[in-house]
Symmetry: C2
Subunit: 216 residues, 2 copies
Amino acid sequence: MARKISESTVRRLSRYLRRLRELDARERRSVVSSAGLAQSTGTTAAQVRKDLSHFGSFGKRGQGYPVRALREQLEEILGLTQRWRVAVLGAGKIGSALLGYGYFTQRGFDVVAAFDSDQSRIGLDLGGVRVQPLSELKRTFEDRRVAIAIIATPVEAAQQSADMAVGAGARAILNFAPVKLDVPEGVAVREMDVTLELEGLCYMLTTGGPAADDTE
Amino acid sequence: MARKISESTVRRLSRYLRRLRELDARERRSVVSSAGLAQSTGTTAAQVRKDLSHFGSFGKRGQGYPVRALREQLEEILGLTQRWRVAVLGAGKIGSALLGYGYFTQRGFDVVAAFDSDQSRIGLDLGGVRVQPLSELKRTFEDRRVAIAIIATPVEAAQQSADMAVGAGARAILNFAPVKLDVPEGVAVREMDVTLELEGLCYMLTTGGPAADDTE
DNA sequence: TCCCGTTTGTGAAAGAGATCACAAGAACAT
DNA sequence: ATGTTCTTGTGATCTCTTTCACAAACGGGA
Ligand SMILES: NC(=O)c1ccc[n+]([C@@H]2O[C@H](COP(=O)([O-])OP(=O)(O)OC[C@H]3O[C@@H](n4cnc5c(N)ncnc54)[C@H](O)[C@@H]3O)[C@@H](O)[C@H]2O)c1
Ligand SMILES: NC(=O)c1ccc[n+]([C@@H]2O[C@H](COP(=O)([O-])OP(=O)(O)OC[C@H]3O[C@@H](n4cnc5c(N)ncnc54)[C@H](O)[C@@H]3O)[C@@H](O)[C@H]2O)c1
């Protein structure tokens, strides 16, 4: 049943899940239609149905999808039935913000460690996590079985940080530094570059109205 | 001039630009081949050439692309020949990090204002910017001609923040809150959701990675 | 001048992803 | 039971993106 699922599909699944959690916990809705989900996630009804159909059939014709069950299905599909242990490398401005981010826990991620090279930051307690020196990185990754590393070190140190994380057993990296990281086969990387997104917005602004659909 | 350019192309252009700036400023290279650019931005040589060819022909056959000139061309294409004024809404953890982010200035963005609803945060100086009350938002956006708003308020306040920004004249929004924003036609939005990216990594780890179980 | 190794620019082909359109299923009223 | 209404699931189709492949251009050397 594990076919080739595109990254864009996975992204949308994550959005559906985000919305389903809201519907379930906050809005107490018990069913939702593909059209409803599409509306609140910025896609089309057909796209929602197609995305879900890759993994099975979860809805009832005429009724829609049961919110709770679909949420659980998506968690299963995305691999979120287990909790994931995460470490933050670089306890500076962005690293501190992430360490204090309350949502991770709710969403299945446990930030269990933080590392910094700056002596003056070591020992700090940030969001309940003690900042450790790099010398303890490998051991901590192994002991606590950290699978995901978030890189929040300066650009110049980012590749080195990635190497350390991978060397210590990390199998996925979320990179906040604006550089392309080289990692061995089998290590997953996602990049978050604020500037890149801002530039995308500029392009839209500059090339006349962004969603100028039909007007030519 | 250029017709429908896809978002993925624009994203790559931004990556090329990021790399070209490195090559120009740090590594002092004066030419680069499509293969070289591809290598350091995670794509293919053919893709680089095709992307650039949508806007003109900037290279010399047999030689490659002149780094400096191509950088300037990309800045032109992306609309980065002007500086853009940006405001941050929500001066909390992530908002503070962004206000202290030094790279924006280098990349053509000026963070000129910050807003918060919390009385105790108003008046703070974060990264050289004074945190203002929401009551001053509209006026400041107009006076300083702010085009881009970065939303860093809690999920529950995000839509409201977006409405205020748009009402005050913002034409683009970079949204850090994990919700889909509804904005009027003509306003560009990009979303940065850390959790969504982490979930994407989990999916990869769960399917492609660990014990490659192709159990049908 | 002509040849040779190199790298671009770009139509054409292949591949992916999104959209369409509709039969099939489910609930409910009569 | 039958009809009505609603919404899913999915093959077929369409559109967009990426990859391929090669002629055209460039610089250097003989
Ligand atoms: N501040 C932001 O809002 C922001 C936004 C987007 C991206 N980023 C990126 O995130 C990264 C960090 O930015 P920041 O603003 O938090 O910078 P920062 O200087 O505040 O923090 C960086 C931290 O990393 C530590 N560090 C340096 N080398 C290290 C190493 N080899 N191993 C471990 N730790 C090391 C430093 O001691 C420092 O504490 C940068 O790459 C930046 O481009 C920052
Ligand atoms: N902390 C992180 O690392 C992180 C990472 C990714 C996304 N986010 C998202 O960014 C947003 C902010 O997160 P945070 O961790 O900085 O929270 P935070 O509570 O530290 O900061 C939020 C700030 O927004 C202010 N605020 C509340 N309502 C407002 C309004 N209507 N207008 C203006 N300001 C208002 C609050 O006073 C507070 O100062 C959230 O949506 C969060 O999900 C945070």
